[in-house]
């Protein structure tokens, strides 16, 4: 009976998601331009959906599990670090949004590679970026799914495999049949669930701890350093400053965010999304990480790591509320995986298959191939999560930074610098990735900074030098991007 109370809210929630997928299915609507409908949802996102899908895609397991876990260990300093992410949403949308919206319409592009191919007119740029997307997204998805299934195990007491199957079936089903539009709309719902659940837990814990002032007092008595910005020296300045690149400026050009700049309806949607997005992300980040700190006072002196949020929820919420709560972190994970899955599929179908293998293809065959590709990739992710190979876990360590190293400069400079050309882009992509991976593997830290900082600096320099070595594109061609 207790278990049913736990699972019930989850099933209701999954049912709604599947219904939305069915309702929005491009097949059901017999659309004329299948790829446009399936991979970018006919550019129909409004402000609220755009804001939520950007945030929900970006907010995965780490914001609900890993991040609060570290905050439980290091205190308020880690919440300070997490709030570096607050302005990232508006930075990305404000700099890339309108420009990409206009260009993607002019070139009729629906993927990041459509933009890169049009801008740099070079096969190798596209091949390199496709490879980066496929490898890093795969690793990223597998690790997210593992996190989700483990969490399911901890919270419900049911087997890891059951979690994997329920989870896998629903994500694959609604992504395969619903396409981008469903992904975006479910992201919005999942975002709302994340908000509600974090408010519930925050409130319950605040009451349990006897108010915020009391909680902070207890934390102070455990260790005064937990209330300082540097956590008593554990969070050094070069380290925390690096996060202004890793989860700040570096996210400009991250494929899963950038693609969303191609999918909104009108400029008003973009303006609204910037404000809503900043508000929601700030609310969520501060609250989730603060919950981690409150955990210090409520369950002191335990080695909880990233289980701190689930354990706090189990010990403080009633079964039904706990059932509602499970939706939060699971929503965070699902909304990340579905977005990466549809983008992986668009990379294979649109950027590789249509471009280089089958140029002439009718809509019916195309829709069949797209659905199959999405299904196969989805099944692969869950199969890998069942027995994760070491290579995937290793690869995931580079996923975020690696994507930033490859994409930031080619997208940013491609949009704003006329002289940017393929030579600069190729050199920058290759060398940045090489620098990032080797510095991480060899554990080289310049002045205590995260490896992403020198990577981005070198990548930018190489891009500029490389571009100056060769001619810029013709004025006529550049008109598409700058007029």
């Amino acid at each position: 009976m207790e278990k049913i109370k736990l699972i019930l809210p989850l099933l209701v929630y999954l049912g709604i998601t599947l219904y939305i997928a069915y309702y929005n299915s491009p097949r059901r609507k017999k659309s004329k331009d299948f790829t446009n409908e399936y991979f970018i949802g006919n550019r129909s996102m409004g402000g609220f959906v755009l804001a939520m899908t950007v945030i929900a895609t970006y907010t995965g397991a780490s914001s609900f599990l890993g991040g609060p876990g570290v905050a439980y260990k290091l205190g308020l300093g880690w919440v300070l670090l997490a709030s570096i992410q607050i302005p990232t949403a508006f930075l990305t949308l404000g700099i890339l949004g309108k420009k990409l919206a206009i260009i993607s319409r002019k070139i009729d592009g629906i993927t990041i590679n459509d933009f890169l191919r049009a801008r740099y007119q070079n096969k190798w740029v596209v091949i390199m970026s496709s490879t980066a997307i496929l490898l890093f997204f795969m690793a990223y998805m597998v690790v997210q799914v593992i996190g989700g299934a483990r969490l399911f195990e901890v919270l419900t007491g049911l087997d890891y495999t059951i979690g994997l199957v329920i989870f896998g079936f629903s994500i694959i089903f609604y992504t395969v049949f619903g396409g981008f539009k469903t992904v975006a709309i479910t992201d919005a719902i999942q975002g709302v669930i994340m908000l509600i659940t974090s408010i519930i837990l925050f409130w319950v814990l605040k009451e349990a701890g006897g108010g915020m002032r009391n909680i902070m007092k207890t934390v102070y008595e455990i260790d005064p350093n937990l209330l300082t910005p540097s956590s008593g020296g554990a969070i050094t300045k070069p380290f925390i400053m690096s996060f202004w690149v890793l989860v700040g400026v570096g996210l400009l050009g991250l494929p899963q965010t950038t693609i969303r700049c191609m999918g909104f309806k009108d400029s008003r949607s973009l303006h609204r999304a910037m404000v809503i997005g900043t508000f929601v992300v700030g609310f969520l980040m501060i609250m989730m990480h603060l919950i981690g700190v409150m955990g210090i006072a409520i369950i002191p002196n335990e080695q909880l790591g990233d289980k701190v949020i689930p354990i706090l929820a189990i010990r403080n919420l009633s079964p039904l509320l706990l059932g509602v709560f499970i939706g939060g972190p699971l929503a965070a994970i699902m909304s990340t995986v579905d977005s990466l899955l549809i983008q992986t599929s668009s990379t294979i179908v649109k950027d590789i298959y249509i471009n280089y293998i089958a140029v002439e293809i009718d809509q019916k065959k195309l829709s069949r191939i797209s659905l199959w590709t999405t299904s196969i990739m989805g099944v692969m992710v869950f199969a890998l999560a069942y027995h994760p190979p070491e290579f995937i876990v290793w690869l995931n360590l580079f996923a975020l930074g690696g994507l930033e190293a490859v994409f930031m400069w080619p997208i940013l400079l491609g949009l704003y610098w006329k002289k940017a050309n393929a030579t600069g882009a190729l050199l920058s992509m290759g060398i940045s990735l090489l620098v990032y991976v080797s510095m991480t593997v060899l554990k080289i830290k310049l002045f205590g900074m995260h490896q992403i900082v020198p990577t981005i600096a070198i990548g930018g320099l190489v891009f500029v030098i490389g571009s100056c070595l060769n001619k810029p594109s013709s004025e006529e061609h550049l008109a598409i991007f700058f007029d």
């Binding site: 308020l76 919440v79 300070l80 709030s83 570096i84 607050i86 302005p87 508006f90 930075l91 404000g94 700099i95 309108k98 420009k99 919206a101 206009i102 319409r105 002019k106 009729d108 108010g211 915020m212 002032r213 009391n214 909680i215 902070m216 102070y220 005064p224 350093n225 209330l227 300082t228 910005p229 540097s230 202004w244 309806k265 009108d266 400029s267 008003r268 303006h271 910037m274 404000v275 900043t278 508000f279 700030g282 609310f283 501060i286 704003y416 008109a479 700058f482 007029d483």
Partner: protein, 93 residues
Amino acid sequence: MNKINKQLKKEAIITVILYLIYFVWWYSFAYGLGDVDPKDYKYILGLPEWFFYSCILGFLMITTLLWISIKLFFKEVDLKIYEKNAGREEWKK
């Protein structure tokens, strides 16, 4: 049509300025008020003063400032004219 491009550049610059304002706010309150002995901390709403100003107020400040800046400086752009089948030539003029 270069007018639109100028406007886009202006909006990008405003975005960067807002980002810098948040950074300065975040940094000065956190390390200006927080880098002292924790026994001297003052508290607002139960939270240490540096944290309240830097994170909570900083968050509300930037959201409000962003909202105002968008109202004042950001312009609506008609995206439809750039679409494949809809008056494609219009933007070329």
